[in-house]
């Protein structure tokens, strides 16, 4: 296993820099859903960054905002030094050559009326890469690379393939125009576990082969840990914690991260079901009217009065490890609040 940790000391800056990104959606009657609030993150070339959180935490919106599929309210997204939000349509189209996205539902993200090989060839045709014959052979190569037989499956249509096969086709399509940054939004959530492992392995191989930088969005902490160098934990539109993958699991500092980990069945066995269920109590508050101060405080076992007053800033606690909490856990701490339950 080769180490692919990015060398941040190199003079090369981040490939992607998201600064104070805020996305809001109007939901009628003058109300606004705060989907993403003041999120900043930097992604270095060659890195895989996992973005985790539960539904409604804004992880998909961050992904979509990066490729400008949703408009941001404020903040900036610099890709290779250019602010994507200020680009014209034509310029943006060109930048998107290097930013590709893979979506959760593999079947509905492919055109049902087209043959698989044509789907993969389409980006090449749009950008007029080579001639028709070379595009055809490149599409076949790509299918081969992702483990789809171009002769047999290539002539079929998406509904004739399984979910796993379709996800491979989406990956081939995303790679057709040789992007630098691949944003994967829950790419394996719809797949059975045996197939999920195949697709994760494939992503890992392709990442090495094509020297991709990857943003991997998922709700599944075990999956994210597997593929990521660094992990960003989001809760209700804000970043709760960010750290190298191993640190998140070994030394979670944010009570929410601790709770997410405790709820994984693997941990339930170790901690006991009651502790796990108590680690994050209650339900997700509405993003239309998020709690004041720390947004997690309504479900937190450690919430104090200060948490309602002050928004916790993301602050470093160890190299590369930042947490937005007034009362973070000590490394390796088992919260006494939960032991008493």
């Amino acid at each position: 296993m080769t180490e692919v940790l990015p060398d941040k000391t190199a003079e090369r800056g981040p490939l992607l820099s998201v600064q104070n990104l805020t996305v809001e959606f109007k939901v009628g009657r003058g109300r606004v859903a705060h989907a993403v609030s003041d999120v900043s993150l930097e992604i270095y070339p060659g890195e895989t960054v996992g973005v985790v959180g539960e539904s409604g935490c804004g992880k998909s919106t961050v992904g979509k905002a990066i490729v400008q599929l949703v408009k941001s309210k404020s903040g900036s997204i610099f890709y290779d030094g250019r602010n994507l939000a200020q680009l014209s349509g034509k310029e943006l189209r060109e930048v998107r050559l290097r930013l590709q996205m893979i979506f959760q539902d593999p079947i509905s993200s492919l055109n049902p009326r087209r043959k698989v090989v044509d789907i993969v060839r389409e980006p090449l045709a749009i950008w007029k890469v080579g001639d028709a014959a070379s595009r055809q052979s490149r599409a076949r190569d790509l299918l081969e690379q992702v483990g789809v037989d171009p002769d047999n499956a290539g002539a079929r249509r998406p509904y004739e393939l399984s979910g796993g096969q379709c996800q491979r086709v989406s990956i081939a399509r995303a790679l057709a125009i040789a992007p630098q940054l691949l944003i994967c939004d829950e790419p394996v959530s719809a797949l059975d576990v045996s197939v999920q492992a195949q697709v994760l392995n494939l992503l890992e191989e392709l990442k090495q082969e094509h020297q991709l930088t990857v943003i991997f969005i998922s709700h599944d902490l075990s999956v994210v840990k597997h593929i990521s160098d660094r992990i960003v934990v989001m809760y209700l539109g804000r970043i709760a914690e960010t750290a190298p993958a191993q640190d998140i699991y070994e030394r979670p500092a944010h009570p929410y991260t601790y709770g997410l980990l405790a709820a994984i069945p693997e941990k339930v066995l170790a901690l006991g079901g009651e502790t796990s269920a108590a680690a994050v109590s209650g339900e997700l508050p509405s993003p239309i009217n998020p709690p004041s101060g720390c947004r997690f405080r309504t479900r937190c076992f450690r919430a104090q009065e200060r948490c309602a007053r002050e928004v916790p800033e993301l602050r470093p606690i160890a190299p590369g490890h930042e947490v937005a909490c007034h009362f973070p856990l000590e490394p390796g701490e088992i919260p006494p609040e939960l032991a008493s339950k």
Binding site: E54, H219, L260, P265, A277
Partner: protein
């Protein structure tokens, strides 16, 4: 309410004998559940684990007698508390839906009636079965909602499903299923649509109620982790058949079926190093209209030998490990299994031509 029925106290709570369910599809005849037998005692939880298409939901629905009336052929018997549900007419079944068997479905949005207040949906069963007054039913509904952890139950009962979150809807489903105090609760992927923290809460609720009411629970899940954390016994299904069944302890202490083993190896685990390649299972599940003649898993199996391809493999009990059944001629961790794997590794392919190499991340039995 169950006191009016005559149940055999000695019989196991659930006794499924050689249940097979088949139906016609546009692509051909499908036996979705193939000769499945299982038993469950009161106060215990059995998990049926498998990937999509393994037949686990059809099995659960057949036990409930919820499969379509026409076009589905069911053979075998289902006894609950000694009463043969499979022999009852639909009208007779009505007395059993609720007090005897009850079900929690996967998708709480489509399983609840969108134009009926949740409180009325909980009360419906009591109205049909019981002799409670309006006030009593109302009080019972509020009590149930509180039991399943819904805050402000008196307000919530007057709301419609769309006003509740996914987790709350699933709690309402559980309240409906438990309103008649069933002997047996079937739960079909009850937490699959939920976030992981809510999953932990809902599973804890199910476990608590199961223990408190001495209820039997059949939990259908694709998640081996959930099964390991909550089940007393696990049934692993593949392509319509049981491939392995044992107590949870037995199954994880000595996984015998190559499929169960492969499934375990393919799941990312927290203790793994980042970027470790997963031991993925090659290929995909067979088409149920066109099954292999011998072992159904053979085309994807690292242990497969020539004999696996010839005849169907029976489910047999492990002589050394009573209660542990496996459908395999070369079970993992046995001398026969070790020899089979070694043979395949040395020739580089299995009997079906599948290339095999040693894998680092493999869970060894």
């Amino acid at each position: 309410m169950t006191s009016t029925k005559t149940f055999d106290e000695q019989a196991p709570l659930l006794d499924v004998r050689s249940l097979s369910v088949s139906f016609e599809t546009p692509r051909g005849h499908v036996t979705a559940v193939d000769d499945v037998s299982l038993r469950l005692d009161s106060g215990a939880m059995v998990c049926i684990v498998g990937e999509s298409g393994a037949g686990k939901s059809v099995l659960a629905r057949s036990i409930m007698r919820l499969t379509p009336k026409f076009g589905v052929a069911t053979t075998g018997q289902v006894f609950v508390g000694g009463v043969e549900l499979s022999a009852l007419s639909e009208r007779q079944m009505r007395d059993h839906w609720g007090p005897t068997v009850s079900m929690v479905f996967q998708d709480p949005m489509t399983a609840l009636n969108p134009v009926m207040k949740v409180g009325d949906q909980i009360e419906e069963g009591m109205r049909v079965h019981g002799s409670m007054s309006r006030q009593e039913r109302r009080a019972e509904t509020v009590r149930l909602l509180r039991t399943v952890g819904i805050p402000e139950p008196d307000t919530r009962r007057k709301q419609y499903p769309h006003q509740l979150s996914g987790g709350m809807r699933q709690r309402v489903m559980i309240a409906i299923a438990m309103a008649q105090n069933p002997m047996l609760l079937m739960a079909d992927e009850p937490t699959t649509a939920l976030d992981v923290t809510i999953q932990a809460q809902v599973m804890e609720l199910l476990k608590r109620e199961q223990e408190r009411r001495k209820m039997g629970v059949v939990l259908v899940t694709h998640d081996l982790g959930v099964a390991q954390a909550y089940a007393h016994r696990i049934v692993v299904m593949y392509a319509g058949q049981i491939v392995e069944t044992a107590t949870t302890g037995q199954l994880f202490a000595a996984t015998r079926s190559p499929y169960t083993l492969a499934l375990r190896s393919s799941i990312p685990r927290l203790e793994d190093e980042p970027h470790q390649l997963l031991a993925a299972i090659p290929g995909r599940q067979p088409n149920l209209t066109d099954l292999p003649k011998g072992c159904r898993f053979a085309p994807r199996c690292r242990f497969a030998q020539e004999t696996c391809l010839e005849d169907p493999v029976p489910l047999v009990e492990d002589a050394q490990d009573p209660g542990h059944y496996v459908r395999c001629r070369y079970p993992a961790g046995t001398p026969a299994g070790d020899a089979a794997l070694e043979r395949n590794l040395s020739r580089g392919v299995t009997a079906t031509g599948l290339p095999v190499t040693r894998v680092d991340g493999e869970v060894l039995a």
